[in-house]
């Protein structure tokens, strides 16, 4: 049963991809494509209520695994993909480049949660990273192309780091197995343990937007059309979360690494919020909010690693799953607001609740997520920093809501064009779903309804909201920081590196002159001779 579901999770998007290449099937394949994540949803729901399973297909060297953290993220991601896909293709056949990128990203974005061995994880992770380029970068617009190039550079660089990490992991496994469970069991005694963890943190940190690898995300989300931004910010980024969950040895206490990651995470959380507050475009603000939230997740996982607390994977999967729904719904909110639909009090309240869910507003899924994270942020400086980060989130999301109200006409028009009509029509339902769904999957949702917890969740939100209003009231304006902040420096450094090209060209031209090449031939003879003799 579960084997079939896991295989179908991978097979269904592949079949829809293939069907898209057959001319006569294409239209129907698109109409029904929203069913492609259905097996994933079923597998996710199944996995939540069952013990972890692992399935090996020896002939293919493929191994699939389903455990509660992965299952939760899988189920939520599948839901998101279904909802957005169903709406997207109603408006007609897409640009082929976009369509292929979409289904490939979906394939990777679902599969990565169930990959059980290094090679298939790497493949699916690459699928969720690389094809996403096609969702936003094929454009006349120079800014979008720039965003695409930067995105691609980070994606490939992250892939390279992970490939090295995986190679070291595999090399540390004495029996030549590449199953994740096996290589992780061997990690604590691996001679390259520290290098592996550093590479893992850096590699997945690029996907999560941890400082200093955060610069691509604001550019990406600003360039992506709203449905793409919704799935990328919701489901796509969670590939990084599952990466850290899978590849950090959370059950082994590693204090220094854990604390370092926690520090990096908290720094990212505040940095993202602070820079986000200086931004004006709603999509950019949401991107910085993602950076900030991923910082919180990294911090919690870091503390889990420091304490040897394997439970952190479950709580952070929940935190991530909540963010998955909320962030996607927030992008759709932008489309809804831009559509010019009449904003009733109810819809304003919904939008506000959704936004502040990220800060842990009581009665939202965010409150549950915050509660879950208490396991890691229980006491001491982590508790304080977590509370401060809630305040920061509340400030940032208030800033986001205010930016929605002051949407320039051209931005509104663009957002309207990007958002499928169905999503606008069903927006309230989607938001309610995002707010309420987590309640069905939380461990002890009742806890969040105690008065103490409600107050605990409420006051940081209130402080944050008031702070932003106060700031505005004082008429102070934030300094201007370019979207992507430090990315500008990277681009300068890159330009410098590119300027080295002619040096190589000249050297190559010299070496390819006959006398140099002929002399090289003799030098190689002598070098080999000397090398062999010593």
């Amino acid at each position: 049963m579960i084997e079939a579901l896991l295989v179908a999770t991978l097979a269904a998007p592949a079949i829809f991809l293939a069907a898209g290449f057959v001319g006569s099937w294409r239209t129907r394949a698109l109409v029904w494509q929203f069913l492609a994540p259905a097996p994933a949803l079923a597998a996710g729901v199944f996995g939540l209520s069952h013990a972890p399973v692992s399935v090996d297909f020896r002939g293919l060297g493929l191994s699939l695994t389903l455990d509660p953290p992965g299952a939760l993220l899988l189920a939520f991601a599948a839901l998101l993909w279904m909802a957005v896909t169903a709406a997207l293709w109603r408006d007609g056949a897409p640009d082929a480049r976009f369509g292929i990128s979409w289904i490939l990203t979906m394939f990777g974005g679902l599969g990565v949660f169930i990959a059980g061995d290094l090679v298939s994880f790497y493949l699916l992770y690459a699928l969720v990273s690389v094809p996403a380029y096609g969702l936003f970068a094929f454009s006349e617009d120079a800014e979008k192309r720039r965003a695409g190039a930067i995105y691609m550079a980070f994606a490939l660089f992250g892939e390279a780091l992970l490939l090295m990490a995986f190679a070291l992991l595999a090399a540390g496994e004495p029996h030549g197995s590449v199953r994740i469970a096996d290589v992780m069991a061997a990690l604590p005694v691996s001679p390259w343990r520290d290098a592996i963890i550093a590479l893992i943190v850096a590699g997945f940190g690029m996907k999560l937007g941890l400082v200093p690898f955060n610069g691509w995300m604001p550019l990406n989300y600003a360039a992506a059309p709203i449905p793409a931004a919704a799935v990328l910010s919701g489901a796509g980024v969670k590939a990084g979360v599952i990466g850290l969950i899978r590849f950090l040895p959370l059950d082994v206490a590693m204090e220094s690494w854990g604390n370092a990651l926690a520090a990096l995470g908290f720094f990212t959380a505040f940095y993202g919020a602070a820079i986000g507050l200086t931004q004006q475009k709603p999509k950019t603000i949401l991107a910085y909010s993602s950076i900030s939230q991923m910082g919180v997740i990294a911090a919690a996982l870091g503390l889990g690693l420091a304490a040897g607390d394997a439970g952190a994977s479950g709580t952070m999967a929940f935190y991530g799953a909540n963010h998955l729904l909320v962030k996607a719904a927030l992008f759709l909110t932008l489309g809804f607001v831009a559509s010019g639909a009449r904003l009733s009090g109810l819809s304003l309240a919904l939008a506000a609740a959704l936004a502040l869910s990220l800060a842990g507003l009581p009665f939202t899924g965010g409150a549950l997520a915050k509660l879950a994270s208490k396991a890691q942020f229980a006491t001491g400086w982590p508790a304080l920093l977590a509370t401060l980060s809630s305040i920061a989130s509340a400030m940032l999301m208030t800033h986001f809501l205010m930016s929605l109200t002051a949407l320039p006409a051209d931005a509104a028009q663009e957002a309207r064009r990007e958002t499928p009509a169905v999503l606008i029509r069903f927006w309230p339902a989607l938001v309610l779903g995002a707010l309420l769904l987590p309640w069905f999957f939380a461990d002890a949702p009742g806890d969040a309804l105690s008065l103490g917890k409600i107050w605990e969740g409420f006051w940081p939100v209130a402080v944050g909201v008031v702070a932003v209003f106060g700031w505005r009231r004082m008429g102070r304006s934030a300094p201007v920081v370019p979207a992507g902040d430090a990315i500008v420096l990277y681009e300068c450094a890159f330009a410098r590196t590119i300027a080295l090209g002619p040096v190589f060209e000249t050297a190559d031209a010299r070496l390819r002159q006959w006398p140099a090449a002929a002399a090289s031939l003799l030098l190689i003879v002598l070098a080999l001779l000397v090398a062999a003799s010593i």
Partner: protein, 112 residues
């Protein structure tokens, strides 16, 4: 010093001379001569090996000698092919330079 050692030293000297020509002579025909010098030096080494392998009533080991004959044929064919290319290059481009004069790294020219 016996004849075969002497021939071996001559072979080494010829190889050295040819290699010098390989690096230092810009004219491709001179490089071709250099190649033939190196080639005959190498054949002499084969010859030395053959002479030293005299046994079983033969004054030489026939196997390396046969290889030299094969090698000479191949070297001649190579020279002839190179000569044809050199002449054709001279006709087509008005020069026989091996190293393009144009900007660095762009010698392959444009398609059109």
């Amino acid at each position: 010093m016996n004849a075969s050692l002497l021939a071996g030293l001559v072979g080494a000297a010829l190889v050295g001379l040819g290699l010098y020509g390989l690096i230092a002579h810009p004219h491709p025909l001179r490089k071709l001569l250099a190649f033939n010098l190196v080639g005959s030096g190498v054949f002499l080494v084969f010859g030395v090996v053959a002479r030293r392998g005299a046994a079983a009533g033969y004054a030489f080991d026939p196997v390396p000698q046969a290889m030299v004959i094969t090698g000479i044929v191949v070297a001649f064919a190579a020279s002839a092919l190179a000569v044809a290319l050199i002449l054709r290059l001279a006709v087509a481009s008005g020069g026989v330079s091996l190293d393009p004069q144009g900007p660095a790294g762009r010698d392959a020219g444009e398609m059109e």
